[in-house]
Amino acid sequence: MRMVNLRVSYNARRIALGLAVILVLGFLLLPGQLQSVFQSIGSPLGWVISWPLQAVAGIHDRIADTWGRYVALQGVEEENQQLKRELDLIKEQNGQLREASAATERLSALLEFKRQALPTSVAAQVIGRDIGNWYKTIILNKGASDGIQSDQGVITPAGVVGRIVKTTASTAVVLLVTDPNNAIAGLIQRTRDEGIVEGTTQGQARLKYIPLLSNARPGDHVVTSGLVGGFPRGIPIGTIIRIDKEEEALFQSAELSPEVDPNRVEDVLVIRSLPLPTEGERLGVPKPKP
């Protein structure tokens, strides 16, 4: 096999090399400006790349699905026996649940209120993982054209997944809650002490800046405090597994086990920011009649 030879004249080589050097110098002298320009220009390129990316992700999912089903068949006999035992137990529980359903109807009214209080969200699928080894990120199949922007929060029904850091037209990159470069405002649900949740290099999370007088203990749940944009208050982040209190330190910190396993997450919700309410709307001041 012979590689096709595209002969480039010496002058063209020099011009291309000169342009590349100018580009590199530009990057070094005006990093922020050029980065945002190239991020915008890169949106169509990202759209083009998202097609093979989604195709490969689709094929990968199908293979994984088929493989999973095949492996599941190996233990179907044993599983069948176990399911029969569970069915007897469930029949007994069914009667109790009928009683509980009446109570559920009453509570659903409250839940409806909660649902309305949450900001709008966009459902997205995970189609890839970070390309490098320096950040813990996932790639979503929704992007700027779906209204997704940087700094928006990403959750699952179980809890916080991370925060959007980059978008193209049809994809978005989510920095996971377990990445050490991520910071989310958190709140210990029982004690109401606030802090900042950061990821750790071990793939866990850590709540920092807990007041020394706080009586937080292992088993306490940490939720979003809603103070910084991206997440409403009360979304679960993790459970405290250890408290670290150092001598002469101004604060204590706590190691968390995240509620969501970022390595297994497949479908997420992106919380789209709502316009902030005005002071009048927040305090419930009636609008003047036209």
């Binding site: 390129l45 790349i49 080894n133 320096w134 050490p180």
Partner: protein, 166 residues
Amino acid sequence: MKALVYFTVIIGLVPVQSVLLSHLSVWGVRPDLGFVAVCLIGLIAGELDGLLVGLALGWAMSLFSGQDLISSAILKGAVGYIAGLAGQQVVYLSPVVLVMGLLVVSCVVGLVTPLALTLSSQQDLWWAAWTVVLPQACLDAVIGGAIYWLLWSRLNIEQVMSESRM
């Protein structure tokens, strides 16, 4: 034709790297196929091709990663350029020498990257060297060596190098 090949490499590498390579990770570290591709392109096709493909590939990969565009594009461009310059100096390059070269260059690039990224204080240079840089360099070297060995055993690589550099 060459541009089409490079475009296909750029378009194809991103899905492979982000979807399939997660299954090939060793201790949570994946090889950087972009680095390997840019090295080989620079080595075979020359410093200009290496530089331009490195810049373009770094840019494309940064769109799907937390890494910023500048460090990604400039580092890959520099790697391609240096690989091209190195390729000019050698007449015969065996796969073993290439593996050693990839190992060293990947280590150097890996140690420069955390400085360029200004990572969290938890991710210091010592942590980076042992948990990311060395494992990744080993994987890059093995994969790069395997690809080069395939090319080397099936093609007259010296002739391809001299033809594509003209």
